[in-house]
């Protein structure tokens, strides 16, 4: 399988990465090189094989449903590009 220019634009949109029109062709070539490389997986017989979900057998550890952290808004916001009065600031999202 390979991607066309339209698909490159669609992936960029899904990934929320702005791609300039003059970069599309180059990116298309790079992505197709990667896709050509992974193409060899199609020759593996995977009938009846379970997909891996955990690389080491382990049971999910449970803990009591208690509050264990919090009350540190200042630390949470310390690296925000823009914050005000305990909130992150973003461009207007609701008209």
């Amino acid at each position: 399988m390979s991607v066309d220019a339209q698909t490159v634009r669609r992936i960029a949109r899904l990934a929320r990465i702005a791609v300039a029109e003059d970069e599309v062709e180059h990116l298309q070539g790079e992505l197709n090189a990667m896709l050509a490389f992974v193409e060899q997986l199609s020759e593996v017989n995977v009938d009846g094989v379970e997909p891996m979900t955990s690389v080491t057998p382990m049971a999910m550890r449970m803990r009591a449903d208690d509050v264990t952290d919090g009350e540190n808004a200042e630390a949470v916001l310390a690296n925000a590009p823009q914050s005000d009065d305990g909130y992150y600031m973003v461009p207007k999202v609701i008209e």
Binding site: M34, F37, V38, S42, M58
Partner: protein
Amino acid sequence: MTELTSLTLAEARDRLAKKDISALELTNAHVVAIEKARSLNAYVLETPEQAVSMAKASDARIAKGEAGPLEGIPLAIKDLFATKGVRTTACSKILGDFVPTYESTVSSQLWRDGAVMVGKTNNDEFAMGSSNETSHFGPVQSPWRREGSNTPLVPGGSSGGSAAAVAAQLCLGATATDTGGSIRQPAAFTGTVGIKPTYGRCSRWGIVAFASSLDQAGPITKTVRDAAIMLRSMAGPDPKDTTCADIPVPDYEAAMGKSVKGLRIGIPREYRLDGMPPEIEKIWQQGCEWLKAAGAELVDVSLPHTKYALPAYYIVAPAEASSNLARYDGVRYGLRVPGRDITDMYEKTRSEGFGAEVRRRVMIGTYVLSAGYYDAYYLRAQKVRTLIKRDFEQCFEAGVHAMLTPATPSASFGIGEKGGADPVEMYLNDVFTVTVNMAGLPGIAVPAGTDGQGLPLGLQLIGRPFDEETLFSLGAAIEREAGHFVAKPWW
């Protein structure tokens, strides 16, 4: 003063304990060495003031008889580990001047045990790379050069800064992380020792995430013993990481002197690649003979899905990365580029903040997870991953204790030499190491010799899950025969 930087971690520990040297003089010697070696670009942030105050505190604890297992040992920290109050960027523009308000579990355990932080080391952006050339801070120069040549070489990657800092004697050990070979490949390129422990041995909490089902922290050091000492402090259960195993950490250093007599060592035939340099073949053969002479039994084994590990990795790792890196949105931390609305802000921020390799991987990851392609790519890759792991399990069930392979398909190469036209050329560096991540196993790279141009070459030992001890015993056996490899200073 230079003499102090040439000590191994174990030697420095013993001399500190005997009060032959002070932690402060040991730290100062390294601070001076780091300043002189700036042309290597191994460190992206030096922390001399913090180092001196930590060293003074170590001397005070030594005086009171309260020394920890790493008391006064100068260590470098890969810039992927969150360090409280100390800038942490993953060497990406998108993290900008991020200053964590918390400490990663692994680094906090090093400080708990008395270690001294001398700085943060360079790495490929978000650990995506095999040469340290994708770093926003620019490439690292290896302390090694080809005989009679001034061509700058790569130290490998992604933990290139850590490997170069250890090899150039700018610290006594460094933390690193390994998703597809990022500890073992740079260790092999720089004549240092690097171990990627079993998945779940070290907590991932506070380490900038790349591919969560593959990422694992480990040390890069001058010797096998030093790696054993450092891993013991780094490893162990952590309630903050549910994938971190609740298994006690053994005294790895005790495995050092243990005999390897009677151990069955698998030699996987699929690791013999067409067109592999004869020097790699030779060093592998040499390693086999050393282990045989030490009493180990060599057995030919087959891992039939080996060739599919790298292509499966280039689906699984980018898929997980595309998900993990969704957090860099210009809202909570790091870079923000203003846009006409919130989506435009996201897109501009991520376009400007991510380098070319990261962008490429996030996009391929997004594609293989997108509707209509998930089954053909991602699901199939996860099934292949099951088969890769099964190959190893069958060998271990048949009585094999560990496997011996080359660490890399070549020695180090020149900066700018690979991957310019085709990204896959660079990816092939990890052909021998990536299987180990896909199967969650421990793997150690140990220096074993040099090529015709005087550059270090390494061997890799792969172990059973949570049996790092056998790797230390075998690694020590190889090290005893191969000796140590120290770069001649030119910087």
